[in-house]
Symmetry: D3
């Protein structure tokens, strides 16, 4: 009977075995510290659902997902409302994936989830560079008194690995202190992506790189399904190009965060995220042997 | 790592093994013959998704789904647009479940899916009675020339098992020929459910019974997510009571059809369907041994 | 080629000739004086569109729309924003329909459109009684200074034909002056419909009656698509029963107003209105001869 | 110029002075511990916005909000994601209102906000009784390990004031342990509201009473805008009747929680809540002195 | 009375007579073979409705629709669910329009409707070239076993008229076999429109050309209302330019397909389609004489 | 207690005192003359609400709203449906703001509100130039007989101050008479913004300038929440650039109109408008002293 049935249990073309997989997709349905509009907790599941509306094959790279061994681990079961415990669990999951030598693609959820992820990767890779695509600088020291917030996440990263190892693209919003901090401590490219990225790629060479991509770096015309839309961003073509361009780097981990399906009845935000996941697997990892 | 992860792969509390299951849930994402508004193809998947918003335990029956062995087989992979082949596949799935001696709960999809299901069950149970809950009589001979249609399904059932074995509840729409056919050949209860049901239950005794429940029997206030809403129906309380009342019958199979998530941003239609699935498992099947 | 084509140009089963029609449906897409949420201007068109989701035949009356000659005149072309001129045009249309001896069913639009309609009918029928179904009393003298408002319409009617000839059902909202005016001058039945209606029907006997039905008399659970939803109303079953019960009266004209499609993604409000239009034609008018 | 302008800064007819007010409305935009669908954080603001769609005057009580002195304090500024600190702030606000001898009406937000509120009121009133209207028992000891959760709130109340002082109405969902706890320790009325309420009112006499009303006690047909809709609830008429019936009790505080505007494009859930707020002020507090 | 009334029976400025028309618009509400999201069946009707939100006059061409004789034939009445019969009827309609020497503009519906259309046109014009605008290659041999599918439509065209006569623009999705087929047999321009179009226009000269335009060639930011949105497409300006640029070709027929109103609450997809229809009439046909 | 509470009573960072403010924001919730889709009456309030999702600080200008003294006066209370009286009130408000020597930013509402505004400003500034950003020419003499209409507003302006003082950018829709009028009498730049704006800025020098910005000048991909979306417009980046570029002019007043929240579930239209308001304050006015 199985011939007739299909159970949509993960991203399109994902395989059934964690052990044999080279890449692992993990959903992180956390959205408790957001201040404006919650909803990103359903992001990872919607990205999976709509992944069946795109193809396994990519016209951009002439490669096919079915030639790659990747496992979709589902969503992390989080204690809703408990930030500290949630961050701790996320870090443990990342450490396990790093230890098992697999490429991790993490789907948010709010941007704060990137903090335990990058913490884990920077513990492993001491010369880690972080490429940060976002509309918002996320460089606050605290947000309404909270140090763990979607608005402080990159500041915490800077304090851990040094701002000079952080490259920020597409930034167009934040407060003055963030702007000044960015000017002084990080490599912040305001309202720009592809141009500076070309140079950064040259500079980075073989260094291990972690990509954290907040979907709101894209203009809300192309990605309306997000918690804090900020007009004036890039197009879907530009972000696809950026993801492809980074294919020559030594990417060791990646997250795509802040997809909020409830604000996008057309689902094009989740579809764009699914497409970026596909291109990332095809560009940053190797096909299975055989 | 599995401790942290959860993969939402089926109805809440469903088990992993088809073989050990007493009950099987099957989704049938077919909506190609509908004339007014398509959308029921995503019904089964949405019923699964929202089942995590209700509890495993029922206050109505004081029983818990976790004490029952039921498997969620996912959706049947249908050749979209090919009606004949689709009906054939559905019938094969039903036959397999009947042969394996499991209780089948089928989730539509459009009402036409009930035709191959009831055909299979009536082949097995020669004295089958069909209890039909619906706003529409579905007794047309053909619909715009097509004999296979959501509007002809019960007529086909009548022609197979005899109209006198068909009991129709809550009917409030149809054309004159359907009304006359119902008056003459079936047991049609116009605009009524609980009152006539009480008598029918007494009459049926130990006979094998198949339930086909079109969610639009419920008023669109309570179940707006359906293709052809018809004001003037029953409340959610009444349909829950009806499902519970049939617990003393010998139910051999059941479907719930015409849930169309896109027309219901509150998801209460899918949640009602999920609740009916839960009560059906708790009331029509036995808990696992041991 | 016409055999293959269908042009949805009016209410289901409406005929092509104004001259030969006994009944005329007119849409009045006016919503400029509303204070809370506009949107009723698309009401008439949506009622037509969804009328194809109900049947021509009625299980309630055992009659079929195809046996009745009724014409759908489309929407009145109004000068948007010009209240005075709009009311004048509406009155002219009503006078024409009265003069041509046809039964008029008018679809709003906001409730103010009932004023020129009732004015026209009361000029023709000097002993006219008005049956008013609504959540709101609509008895204000003026609304933020405007005498022509959706909130003053029944007060104007009272001043024209005398409050004692006005019967108000289902009323549950208004200001204190409206409440007091209703208690003193009209026949106002607070939060009640079917019970008092039975008596009123007996009292009215053969008098000419005009029905003005604001869809918000129904609870927003059953009719969410309206400008000023007021919880605590009747069910769809009750309003259907009320419309059927008035079939023994001498109804000379009728309007159904305040259907606002944009607030109801399930379209059940427009479908309910379409069903009331169908039952009104079947109950208040005669089938074609022959 | 002020004559021309209006600033919608609070609930309809609310006054400008906290000091002179007898009643205070406080919004609590917390929704971080919810497990199914977030969104109640915008509940309080939406209740204010739609309050302008209802009247100041009530047909039910023949009273007018403009005769009452009540202040709308806006929303509490919470540290998003920090549950402990948020609960602490909420309790401080409640204590201040109690100390200032004002009647507090609190608008959620998720149900967990009721815990610090009831804690504050039970500290002040040692013989406090709590009337709990809800679809869910909320009697869990912990929820996925968290003791502070929307699903544990009434259990915490029971542990503080004793389950025998807690009266639960309309309950129809929970797990078996909650059901058993309710049967043993609280006064739980499953699927019932008005009938048992009548008796409870008699029993309570002059005791101080706090009302906690989760809007999902109402059927999702009437209140679809809520996080965890549970079919099979009461109508809007019944909840209005219940609120009115409690007018003879000694109500010392009240909350209405779990209104989630994003799931209800018709806004009838927020409108129902606004209407309950109006009736509560008119029924539970005294008009200003003349 | 007619002066006051307007009946929205077709595209803005369409005329009443088929016989006197030079151009005919036909809606084809078929969406039964779609695999991802149904809904295009209401596309043609919505394009008509929103056409009243654009002007008859075009700033791009300095021409006015009112100077052109075009008839809107409404939607073809299809036997829902019967693919073979539907395709047959569509072909008959196209043949009739060709025989009557009128320019046909066909509005989908799903892309499969283009197959019988192009079949009819290629029977008439033996040297027909097809210009195909789409995000998807639609070059599959079969789709889940079905040869008649929205995903096979251009493959069938290629097999009929030869791939070298097919020009594909904006393609960015498909499987590897489609990509290879396109590279080998058709003129496929991946991710490009205006640049290659310029050359193609030169090459085609006076040859008869049929345009099939799947609205998803446009980025979902500009056209979210479609069944299978594919990020990375062109802007609305680019597609308008493309339609205008083809004005110097010998266009003999045209379709615009896959507009799915339910996925676009802003209606901008249908409005864009209506604008393309207007520009097509103004650019590809001649004004009426006289 | 005030420390815990926040009342969202105006645009982010607006101050409490009209008297001390240099700039005043006024909402004008008028949408009665619109012909296609009403809904702009809630525009101003939604722009305020979403302003809390952007920052007070601007990356574009390196300035912060908190350094500017601006007051949000709320919405003008209009007599709904009474156009003449409404226009009169709007003009009085503008005159008051001009007389009090404050910079006015007016938020619509429909475009007709710009007529009394510009009338007031041109009475004060006799050499006023008007910069008009819009998809539509709005140069009709009357619209369905009405001279006061959203489609006639710029014509009325031209008749008051002379078309040669009116500069129109981004225009891409209108009827032939409007096109001809624009060609002859105004400075109309069809489908262009930034290029011609550069020249116009040079020409204007120190002249007093009033900006009227219809949000539909932006493509509906970026601003779908508007009454009459017109594909083919500019991006959000371009309109931001345009607003910034005008910072060197002598701007004396400004309006942003036609934001219609109901058509944009992502709220990006209102967010774009809020961002333009922020940049206007930062670029066109001076920070507070001290």
């Amino acid at each position: 009977m199985q011939d007739f049935l299909e159970r949509l249990t993960g991203f399109i073309a994902s395989t059934e075995s964690y052990e044999e997989a080279d890449t692992v997709i993990i959903g992180i349905p956390m959205d408790f510290t957001v201040s404006f509009r919650p909803g990103t907790r359903t992001g990872p599941q919607q990205i999976r659902t709509v992944s069946f509306g795109i193809e396994e094959y990519s016209f951009y790279t002439n490669k096919d997902l079915r030639d790659f061994a990747f496992f979709d681990g589902g969503d992390i079961a989080l204690p809703f409302g408990n930030v500290t415990k949630s961050l701790d669990i996320i870090e443990q999951v990342a450490n396990k994936i790093i230890k098992d030598n697999k490429f991790g693609i993490y789907l948010g959820g709010e941007h704060l989830v990137s903090w335990p992820l990058i913490k884990a990767y920077s513990d492993k890779y001491t010369d880690l560079a972080v490429l940060h695509f976002d509309a918002h600088a996320d460089l606050r020291e605290n947000y309404i008194g909270e140090v763990n917030s979607h608005a402080t996440v990159i500041r915490k990263v800077c304090e851990k690995i040094g701002g000079k190892n952080v490259y920020q693209f597409g930034i167009r919003s934040g407060d003055k202190l963030e702007y000044d901090y960015g000017q002084k401590h990080t490599n912040m490219f305001v309202n720009q992506i592809l141009e500076p990225l070309e140079n950064v790629i040259k500079i980075l060479g073989e260094r291990p790189v972690y990509i954290t991509l907040d979907i709101d770096v894209v203009d809300p015309a192309f990605a309306p399904g997000t918690g804090t839309p900020e007009p004036g961003g890039c197009t879907s073509r530009e972000i696809i190009e950026a993801v492809l361009a980074m294919g020559i780097l030594n990417i060791v981990g990646m997250d795509i965060v802040e997809v909020s399906p409830i604000n996008d009845p057309s689902d094009r935000t989740a579809i764009l995220a699914a497409k970026l996941v596909r291109e990332a697997i095809l560009s940053y990892t190797k096909p299975k042997k055989g």
